[in-house]
């Protein structure tokens, strides 16, 4: 009955493609999950402790809308030392509730009704719905395994129309693990400038790259800074998913308008999360980001193990240069991603995410997260291997 109160705009946004799996998997007792999208580390002790100290000291008030200034200064210093870019902590940095809020804010700030926004496919599940909710039109730019799921200027050019306003640029990529190298970016940047597009660069996995791959922010290329909102956060690099803390960096006029929405809807990110983030960055600065490096090394070993095992099983899997996912092909089985994952879950109690949850171009692939203990991974591989024997 109450449905009549729901706006068609919201009603017509499809539910997340992983929801159904979540419902089935949630009822199973001894399922092993490769479906998670977060680190298997807990937040380092000293960071948790900083938040506890802050609570005990009674720091329970709002902060400035843009976030605590000491935090914005730390973020500015971190980006300067790790990515060699300068952002003014007073005017060009906004602390958000996860990078997720940054996606929403940047889209709502810049998208006019009917504007088209290019989104690489496969890609993270939130971009298209957020574009729709902001009144824009999501346009998927299909990438292909034959190009290693890399985005090229040709692919983009085919999708650009006079209505194209922005490009969402999510690298290192969830789910494919693709890292766009500096040369890849240089091939794309002129086209973006030519068509005067805004870039929303989601760099949440920037610290997790392997095999000598280096993350370069697209904002660091000539002519790109003034048209890029760079989104990042503490979830992946510092194992702080539940703290919901991220930040947006960009030109002052954009950040100022984003802050307007932020101040009316959120007010400020939770203070304890901000205090914890200050500790994360301060300590990182002092010890050359040892926490990040230790986690990265641990992911890297498991990444090799997973890539190697899938290939041995006959599920062809290229070595992902970033994030913590493998994206093996299941085409050889003749099943769709959805079928494969559903049967694997029902018959062997292993949770993987169908590639199609991340867009049509994900058909024929499954996303498997290797941020899980080696004994769990080994058991999952055994079950997947058994499953492949039965089909």
């Amino acid at each position: 009955m109450s449905e009549r109160f729901i706006s068609p705009l919201v009603r017509d946004v499809p539910p997340s493609g992983i929801r159904r799996f979540f419902d089935i998997a949630g009822t199973m007792k001894d399922a092993i999950s490769l479906g998670v999208g977060e680190p298997d580390f807990v937040t380092p002790y000293h960071i948790r402790n900083a938040a506890i100290d802050s609570l005990l000291a009674g720091e329970t008030q709002y902060t400035a809308n843009r976030g605590l200034l000491p935090l914005r200064r730390e973020i500015s210093g971190y980006i300067s030392s790790r990515m060699h870019m300068e952002y003014d902590p007073e005017k060009e940095i906004l602390v958000t509730v996860g990078a997720s809020e940054g996606i929403d804010l940047s889209l709502r700030t810049c998208i006019r009704p009917g504007d088209e926004v290019l989104i690489p496919d496969p890609g993270y599940v939130s971009y298209a719905p957020c574009v729709t909710l902001a009144g824009g039109m999501p346009v998927s730019v299909k990438t292909d395994v034959r190009d290693g799921f890399r985005l090229s200027a040709e692919m983009l050019e085919k999708c650009i129309t006079p209505k194209t306003r922005a490009l969402v640029f999510p690298y290192p990529n969830n789910p494919t693990g693709v890292v766009m190298a500096k040369a890849d970016l240089e091939a794309i940047a002129p086209l973006i400038i030519k068509h005067d597009l805004l870039v929303i660069s989601d760099e949440i996995y920037c610290e997790l790259t392997y095999d000598g791959e280096q993350h370069t922010s697209i904002a660091s290329l000539p002519g790109m800074r003034e048209r890029t909102v760079m989104l990042n956060g503490f979830s992946k690099a510092f194992a702080m998913t539940g703290w919901r803390l991220g930040y947006a960096c960009g030109p002052a006029p954009l950040i100022e308008q984003m802050n307007k929405i932020h101040q009316y809807t959120i007010m400020c990110a939770p203070r304890q999360s901000q205090v914890a983030a200050i500790e994360a960055l301060q300590k990182g600065r002092e010890n050359q980001y040892q926490d990040i490096e230790n986690m990265r090394k641990s992911y890297d070993r498991r990444r090799r193990l997973m890539v190697n095992t899938f290939n041995e099983m006959g599920l062809s899997c290229t070595s992902p240069g970033g994030a913590f996912y493998c994206f093996p092909s299941i085409r050889e089985t003749g099943m769709t991603s959805e079928e494969f994952c559903t049967r694997l879950l029902r018959e062997k109690k292993v949770v993987c995410v169908p590639g199609t949850a991340f867009g049509e171009a994900g058909e024929g692939f499954i996303r498997c997260c290797y941020a899980t203990a080696v004994d769990q991974l080994t058991e999952a591989f055994k079950r997947i291997s058994e499953f492949l024997q039965t089909i």
């Binding site: 992983i18 479906g35 977060e38």
Partner: protein, 163 residues
């Protein structure tokens, strides 16, 4: 090679039964390189033994353990080494450490009964020439050893699926 060795030690400390093939894959090195590194570490006495971490409380076994703080008079030219070696030769002694602080040696002892352990202290340990004093503390419960927590593994707090 040094880096590889450190990485292998980290992996073996987690699971010393991990097969060579898996170690090679996880470190991204060739199998024979990994085999050689482990071989060298075994020869050099870096890796002394491969053994499980056991929760004896789950088994029907009589074991009494104690940590004994021992004060000794160091010997001329030998320092603490001579007395330490006299102590570690007893079968009951599982570990011996030279310590900084209020006492000199920390001795971990294991016996099958309380009485046996008490006798060890009073008859074997305290009577050594250079031992000037001991303080024995019995182990009541083990919560964590060598980085392994003995209670049930805390559940993975993560959602089964997240985007």
């Amino acid at each position: 090679m040094e880096n590889l060795k450190l990485e292998l030690l980290e992996l073996l400390q987690e699971d010393c039964r991990m097969p060579l093939e898996k170690l090679a894959v996880m470190t991204g090195k060739a199998l024979d390189q990994v085999a050689q590194a482990i071989d060298e570490m075994e020869k050099d006495g870096v890796i002394l033994r491969y053994r499980p971490v056991i929760n004896w409380d789950k088994m029907q076994s009589n074991r009494v353990e104690a940590m004994i703080e021992v004060r000794v008079t160091p010997q001329r030219d030998m320092g603490f080494d001579a007395i330490a070696s006299r102590i570690y030769r007893f079968d009951e002694v599982k570990s011996v450490y030279l310590m900084s602080g209020g006492y000199d040696l920390l001795v971990l002892v294991e016996a099958s009964t309380l009485k046996e352990l008490a006798l060890f202290v009073s008859e074997k340990l305290s009577t050594l020439d250079t031992v000037t004093g001991t303080a024995t503390s019995f182990v009541l419960k083990r919560y964590k050893q060598d980085g392994v927590v003995f209670e049930k593994r805390s559940p993975d707090g993560r959602l089964v699926i997240s985007p």
